[in-house]
């Protein structure tokens, strides 16, 4: 059996240990969705009472946006920053480095392993609630293949970004502020909280060059059928370029970091 596949299976097994944790997070996730849905509903109703029309998206589309962005959040999430900075801070990174396997790849497969469990116990429940309780339509089947490509791209982009931030622990032992920054930048610029179609033109122009919208906005706009063919093409090209850039940066930072490594705690 391939070692990375075995690592993935072990991660699946590890994640089943904390069942209570899973229930709590799913519940928390649902509350978050309800809060956002209420907010958007209030906004739309408010606009209606002023005879204003929101043309970018209908209220139902916004509901779907909220549900699916939170699902994408689940799928792209990873523990890279915590896991790397913790390993470096405590010196536990030695136990990873004495193995004949790559650190990046083992992190990747462990993350993928935790996703298997997540799909079963977090994503499916949220989909059920959104379909049967909120009455939201399921996404268009034709959009699924392109969406899957976008999702893989989103996952990879975010994985590389967090890997780089986590690696910065080689220089700055504490990285929580960098993690904070990344989280807030992501929340705002990726389209997680507010879809990019509500953004002013100038800001959009800046963000078109940045990789953040690849993580949420790109897959979401495909799923909701908002992106045209040309736009999909541009996003795919942009994704490939950014992934190549981030991967190169990650390789570089890894090689520099190894030389910089100081084992904490002897």
């Amino acid at each position: 059996m391939n070692v990375y596949y075995k690592l993935m299976l072990n991660a699946v097994q590890s994640s089943t240990v904390y069942r209570f944790h899973t229930f709590v997070t799913t519940f928390q996730r649902l509350i978050g969705i309800f809060v956002q849905i209420s907010l958007w509903t209030a906004l739309y109703k408010g606009a209606q009472s002023f005879q204003m029309e929101i043309t970018q998206a209908s209220l139902q589309e916004m509901w779907m946006y909220v549900v699916y962005s939170s699902l994408i959040g689940l799928m792209v999430a990873n523990g890279n920053i915590y896991s790397l900075s913790d390993k470096i801070q405590t010196g536990h990174i030695v136990t990873a480095l004495i193995r004949p396997i790559g650190l990046f790849r083992s992190l990747l497969f462990e993350t993928l392993g935790s996703k298997v469990f997540m799909i079963l116990f977090e994503i499916i429940p949220v989909l059920i609630v959104s379909h049967f309780v909120l009455g939201l339509p399921l996404p268009n089947i034709e959009a699924i293949p392109v969406f899957m490509i976008m999702l893989i791209m989103a996952f990879t982009t975010f994985f590389l970004m967090t890997f780089i931030v986590g690696m910065s622990s080689f220089w700055y032992i504490r990285t929580f502020h960098l993690e904070f920054m990344l989280t807030h930048v992501m929340n705002f610029f990726s389209g997680l909280m507010i879809p990019l179609w509500f953004f002013p033109r100038e800001l959009r122009a800046v963000m078109d060059w940045l990789p953040f919208d690849l993580v949420y906005y790109a897959p979401l706009s495909v799923l909701l059928g908002k992106a045209k063919y040309a736009e999909i093409g541009v996003m795919l090209a942009k994704g490939c370029v950014w992934i190549a850039l981030l991967a190169a940066a990650a390789v570089m930072i890894w090689h520099l970091g190894k030389r910089k490594l100081v084992i904490q705690g002897g």
Binding site: M1, V3, Q13, I98, I263
Partner: protein
């Protein structure tokens, strides 16, 4: 050819100098000063296949740093390390296939899943053939007594159990070199004994080279044929355990069981005795002397003339005392290399 070659190996770290108090802390924020700390200072040695070498030194001597360079995790500042003719940090992954490492302070087992799963993972990681894996598992679980907790999650193991499992995991792939950084730290006598027997068995069967650091002198006496002692990053001694004892342990202790106290205020320094004490409750006199300067027989004769001696024993210096002397010597007068 020697399996491990270390030549003029040096590692320096720069670490910030911290000011004291609030003012010092603020000054550090603005202007952080660094100092160079040499953890390993021009160390050279070679180790042959099948040797068990004790790598000893006080805390902070540079033992762990050296091991991390041998393993390929740390990049040396200068000097060279070759393990099986390769430079470890340049070929970290290939080197990792040939070695087994145990850090007594850190577990390498998978925290949330049973021990057996970690072993299975090792099987995949090092492509251990099924036959070897089965044979090793049988041998190791037997010698180390692992079967009792094979299917328990690692986080629920006791320290002794975890250590045994860690050792087993590190040796499953028949590594040709094993690095053990304080493998018996915090363990009880029974577990220590098991671990030592296990290491001797593996060494005898497979010619495994073992380099271990420890503060437990009985580990050294039971396992090592050779010791390397370092202090402040420099090598102080390199040679047989026996030579260490004969060269450095000139100090012996004699215990005499006597009838009654005799005038210990009398000067016996002419006999070469460096210090003596009388223990009234056991009726014994304990005295220490340097055997290069004193004749135990004449000391004994001197006492027998003055009192009735029922019994006597002579104790050679413990390895621990010898090593402590070397540490102290080297810090006080910077003793040169003892080769």
């Amino acid at each position: 050819m020697s399996i491990i070659q270390v030549d003029q190996l040096t590692k320096t770290f720069s670490r910030p100098i911290r000011g004291t108090g609030a003012i010092g802390a603020i000054r550090d924020l603005i202007n952080r000063r660094y100092e160079e700390k040499t953890a390993v200072d021009h160390i050279s040695f070679t180790i042959e296949r099948g040797e068990i070498v004790g790598y000893l030194g006080p805390n902070g001597a540079g033992k762990s740093t050296s091991i991390k360079m041998l393993v390929g995790i740390l990049v040396p500042t200068s000097g060279e390390v070759r393990v099986d003719s390769e430079i470890p940090y340049k070929n970290r992954r290939e080197n990792a296939r040939k070695i087994g490492v145990v850090f007594g302070q850190r577990s390498q087992l998978w925290w949330d899943i049973p021990v057996s799963e970690t072993f299975e993972l090792m099987k995949c990681m090092y492509n251990i053939p099924a036959v070897d894996f089965k044979r090793n598992m049988e041998l190791f679980t037997d010698v180390l007594g692992i079967q009792d907790f094979m299917h328990v999650a690692v986080r629920q193991l006791s320290l002794g159990q975890r250590m045994r499992a860690d050792l087993c995991a590190a040796l499953l792939h028949n590594p040709s070199i094993v690095y053990l950084d304080e493998p018996t730290i915090g363990l009880d006598v029974v577990v220590k004994k098991k671990i030592r027997e296990f290491l001797l068995e593996v060494n005898a069967q497979r010619q495994t080279t073992i380099l271990l650091t420890t503060h437990d002198m009985s580990d050294v006496e039971k396992l090592c044929s050779r010791v390397i002692i370092i202090n402040n990053g420099r090598k102080m001694f390199d040679g047989d355990l026996d030579r260490l004892k004969s060269d450095y342990s000139a100090g012996e202790t004699m215990i005499l069981h006597v009838d009654h106290e005799i005038g210990l205020d009398r000067d016996i320094s002419h006999l070469g005795v460096t210090d003596f004490t009388y223990h009234p409750e056991s009726g014994s006199i304990q005295l220490r002397y340097d055997k290069r300067q004193a004749k135990p027989a004449s000391i004994l004769a001197w006492f027998m003339e003055r009192t009735a001696v029922h019994d006597f024993e002579i104790k050679p210096a413990e390895v621990e005392d010898v090593i402590r002397d070397i540490y102290q010597d080297s810090t006080s007068c910077g003793l040169g290399e003892a080769q």
